[in-house]
């Protein structure tokens, strides 16, 4: 059947060029769909990455009641560690807190004589799941011996909102745009199939199997999908770099970390190829089904 496959590929290419405008339209619309899907997915991915960073950096501070002795303050660590959603709990003594403070702010030895007594023992707590930050903070406050808790809930909530919205939008868009792409490619191939229905009838008359008739159309869809995937991948790369550059040069947005495209191009390319090929082949199979009943 090797010679047949050469024939199928040749016929697929021929079909594609014989309906050049429709092929161009199908590729254009699929590229647009892939680009929108890709952009939203990458926004969601980056929001998630920033959230993870925040999770790593944004620790909760639990200040220990001053009435507790050093030993009692240290013993509090076991209680805090046992709370659910606490990933890591590190004790920081008054002296360590004072030294950190001085090293951070004392440029002119202004705080050289700062007394450690004005600082409280504290725990630096990292969480497993930032989404449960509010509940965890409340649980920490309930622990006897904890005087005060400081947590930047607003920032983490903001990131989570962005991530969740981008996630939901990207999933919804992916679903809608996938259907649109399949529909467009299917219609393009349906048009070429309709144009060739007499030819298909002749092929059936001379003894062509359904598979023989189907393959060139499948290859046509595959090629349209592959071309769409390649074009949209290139455009996505350019768009991503432009956005990343824009963010890095912005005064307000530069706090965001944008994952470099070089780090993620492989899975992005694989996803584009998979979606492109899936949409192309799926669309062509849908289109040809009706015309095989000759």
């Amino acid at each position: 059947m090797k010679h047949n496959f050469t024939y199928f590929i040749r016929e697929g290419i021929r079909n594609m060029f014989s309906h050049g405008f429709m092929s161009f339209a199908a590729v254009g619309i699929t590229v647009a769909c892939l680009l929108i899907m890709g952009t939203f997915s990458l926004v969601a991915y980056n929001a998630n990455e920033n959230l993870k960073d925040l999770q790593r950096e944004n620790a909760i501070l639990a200040f220990v009641d001053e009435s507790l002795t050093d030993a009692e303050a240290k013993a509090l660590g076991a209680k805090l560690s046992s709370l659910s959603n606490v990933a890591e709990c590190t004790f920081v003594s008054r002296q360590e807190a004072r030294d950190n403070y001085v090293s951070q702010y004392d440029e002119d030895d202004l705080y050289a004589d700062l007394d450690a007594g004005i600082f409280r023992h504290r725990y630096v707590i990292h969480l497993t799941d930032m989404e449960r930050m509010g509940a965890t903070v409340a649980a920490i406050r309930q622990v006897e011996g904890v005087a005060k808790v400081r947590a930047d809930e607003d920032i983490s909530n903001g990131f989570m909102t962005v991530r969740n919205i981008a996630g939901v939008i990207s999933v919804a868009l992916i679903a809608v745009l996938l259907v649109v792409s399949v529909f467009i490619i299917s219609n393009t191939i349906k048009l070429t199939t309709f144009d060739r229905k007499d030819e298909i009838a002749i092929m059936k008359m001379v003894g062509a199997t359904d598979a023989f008739i189907r393959w060139p159309f499948v290859f046509e869809g595959l090629l349209l999908g592959l071309i769409s995937a390649l074009v949209s991948f290139g455009l996505q790369w350019l768009l991503y770099r432009a956005i990343a550059q824009g963010i890095s040069m912005s005064d307000t947005l530069q706090i965001l970390r944008v994952v470099s495209f070089e780090q993620i191009y492989r899975p992005v390319a694989a996803a584009f190829m998979a979606v492109g090929v899936g949409v192309g082949v799926g669309g062509s199979l849908m289109a040809i089904r009706r015309f095989l009943r000759v």
Binding site: I202, V206, G207
Partner: protein
């Protein structure tokens, strides 16, 4: 061998196209299937190509029943019968060579087989040197020769021609019929469906006559119109 045994065909709209038709065509025969328009001739062609199945009775080709053949096996059965139509049914956007090559690709022939076979078949039908022509660059008679070449290209045991001269003038019609006679002489069974009495009577062949869906005559000789 083609066998029809007590075949009846009633279409979904209630039209009764054939009623109890039985005949046998042996391998290597040349048979005219004649009758007026609407007599049921085309239905017999459709039964032979598996386009329709009989309501009652049996249609056998080379011992295989077309009545119970599965969709999967039907293409392979069709390869055993070359079909020629009145309107040629060539693919306009393909050259003569490509029209023939398509029929060979269908059966899985290699490029080398195609390159060897097509010049031979075109020579047989008198179209050598016209490989690169498109159908609309050929006369009606030449287009019908291409259709005959396409029917022959896979070397089928039987050729069924449905009104092959319907679109041709008397001289071209005679040429086509002579060509079919020559193909028959090479061992291929030929069934020609026609209503052209004058043409049939120029050949001393077996004539099966169908009228109003029933077998009205079967014998050697001429096509006589009854009544």
């Amino acid at each position: 061998m083609i066998q029809l045994k007590d075949v009846c065909k009633t279409y979904d709209n209630g039209t009764c196209a054939l009623q109890g038709v039985s005949f046998t065509i042996e391998d290597g025969e040349f048979v005219f299937l004649v009758g007026p328009s609407g007599s049921g001739k085309s239905t017999i062609i459709k039964l032979l190509t598996g386009e329709v199945i009989p309501t009652k009775g049996v249609v056998m080709i080379n011992g295989i029943s077309m009545t119970h053949i599965s969709e999967r096996k039907l293409p392979y059965m069709r390869r055993a019968t070359g079909v020629i139509f009145q309107d040629f049914r060539l693919i306009p956007g393909r050259t003569v060579y490509d029209n023939l090559a398509l029929a060979m690709h269908v059966v899985g022939s290699s490029r080398r087989e195609i390159q060897n076979r097509i010049p031979y078949v075109l020579d047989l039908v008198g179209l050598s040197g016209k490989e690169r022509r498109y159908p609309d660059e050929l006369s009606g008679g030449e287009q019908q020769r291409v259709a005959i070449a396409r029917a022959l290209v896979n070397n089928p045991g039987t050729i069924v021609a449905d009104e092959p001269t319907g679109n041709l003038d008397p001289i071209r019609s005679l040429e086509i019929m002579t060509l079919l006679e020559r193909i028959n002489a090479l061992g291929t069974t030929v069934v020609v469906v026609t209503h052209e009495r004058g043409l049939v009577n120029q050949f001393d062949k077996r004539v099966i006559m169908i009228e109003s869906g029933v077998l009205a005559g079967d014998g050697m000789g001429t096509y006589e119109v009854k009544g």
